[in-house]
Amino acid sequence: MGSPFSINGGACVAMVGKDCVAIACDLRLGMQALTVSNNFPKIFNYGDVYLGLTGLATDVATVSDLFRYKVNMYRLREERNISPQTMANLVSSSLYERRFGPYFVSPVIAGINQTTGKPFICGFDSIGCIDFAKDFIVSGTASDQLFGTCEGLWEPDLGPEDLFETVSQALLNAVDRDALSGWGAHVYIIEKDKVTKRLLKGRQD
């Protein structure tokens, strides 16, 4: 058995566009080479923030449940939604709390800050080190392939339609070169006051 990060497989990518952000994930859940489910989404919504979690499936579920609890408590205390920046710091400190027995996940955050109107994306390692990026964030077993496709396809100031095409092609072509990812995808295009969720079929082999 290899790394806990590559038992179940999966991929996630986030991208910045002009006044919009995109986040996308694949749908596979496997045990090594065996596919158990082809309907296992890895993106979770917390008000204005979208969190993508790849890695060990049990920790994807545990961590997404933990943040649902934490964000709901935040919303009750503050009587407002959590901003993407605050969420990033919450994720970071929550993961570092488990420094010597980490959750085996690689989180990705995407959202638009409703006060400034600015797009925001970031990624983390499993112990909470934040990777602030101006362009794109990749994670999962297809991360090497995603770096390639994103580096090749992404350009600054893409509109929502072009960003959807770019993020979709980047993900779909990356997971086709990874045996542990694929089986369709979920793509979210987030604008100031509109979110579009699309389900992509992708290759089923």
């Binding site: 179940n8 158990v36 489910s37 060990l56 499936a57 049990t58 579920a61 545990t62 027995g101």
Partner: protein
């Protein structure tokens, strides 16, 4: 070589578990029931390490029944599945985790739909139309991929189960002594009679 199988159809969920209780290469019992009813609409089938399986299953069963008594209502199959996953995940990061694989069959009376959840010993939870655990996965998932449809009736579901058990009898090196078959519908859980001694052609 424990076998767990689950198949959903348009208004039912079939759960099957092998009858052999094994210890190493020895079969201790040929009429073992590896299932526990959690409430009137949820059934849990389990396999894994000897002591852990029944201990965990009965702990879950007791807590689900306690919930029903305290709140005068039953937990839905989805809520049950998430509770079971939570308990298994909590144990996973404790001093001694449970090595138990589960299949949770149920019937959601509110959505009026059959449900099936696949949970492994790492507490990965997945809602699925059909499921298997152990070596049965390698033989049965491909059969179910080809022949399963979400709207099959009960007879077709039993035919699918027969195809799976026949293939297992043909290919598994150790006899698993047939299967216990339970069916969950809107009317509750019932045991289904199942002919284990059907001849298989072995090429």
């Amino acid at each position: 070589m424990e076998v767990l199988l689950g198949i959903t159809g348009k208004d039912f969920t079939i759960v099957a578990a092998s009858k052999a209780a094994m210890r190493g290469a020895t079969i201790l019992k040929a009429s073992d029931d590896k299932t526990r009813a959690l409430n009137s609409t949820s059934l849990m089938a389990f396999s894994g390490e000897a002591g852990d399986t029944v201990q965990f299953a009965e702990y879950i069963q007791a807590n689900i029944q306690l919930y029903s008594m305290r709140n005068s209502m039953e937990l839905s199959p989805t809520a049950t599945a998430n509770f079971v996953r939570g308990e298994l995940a909590r144990a996973l990061r404790s001093r001694r985790p449970y090595t138990v694989n589960l299949i949770l069959g149920g019937y959601d009376k509110i959505a009026d739909k059959p449900t099936l959840y696949w949970i492994d010993y790492l507490a990965s939870l997945a809602p699925v139309p059909y499921a298997a655990h152990g070596y049965a996965q390698y033989y049965c998932l491909s059969i179910l991929d080809k022949h399963h449809h979400p709207d099959i009736d009960f007879e077709q579901g039993m035919k699918l189960l027969r195809m799976c058990t026949q293939e297992l009898k043909r290919r598994l090196p150790i006899d698993f002594k047939g299967v216990v078959v339970k069916v969950i519908t809107k009317d509750g859980i019932r045991e289904q009679e199942y002919e284990d001694d059907v001849k298989v052609a072995i090429p």
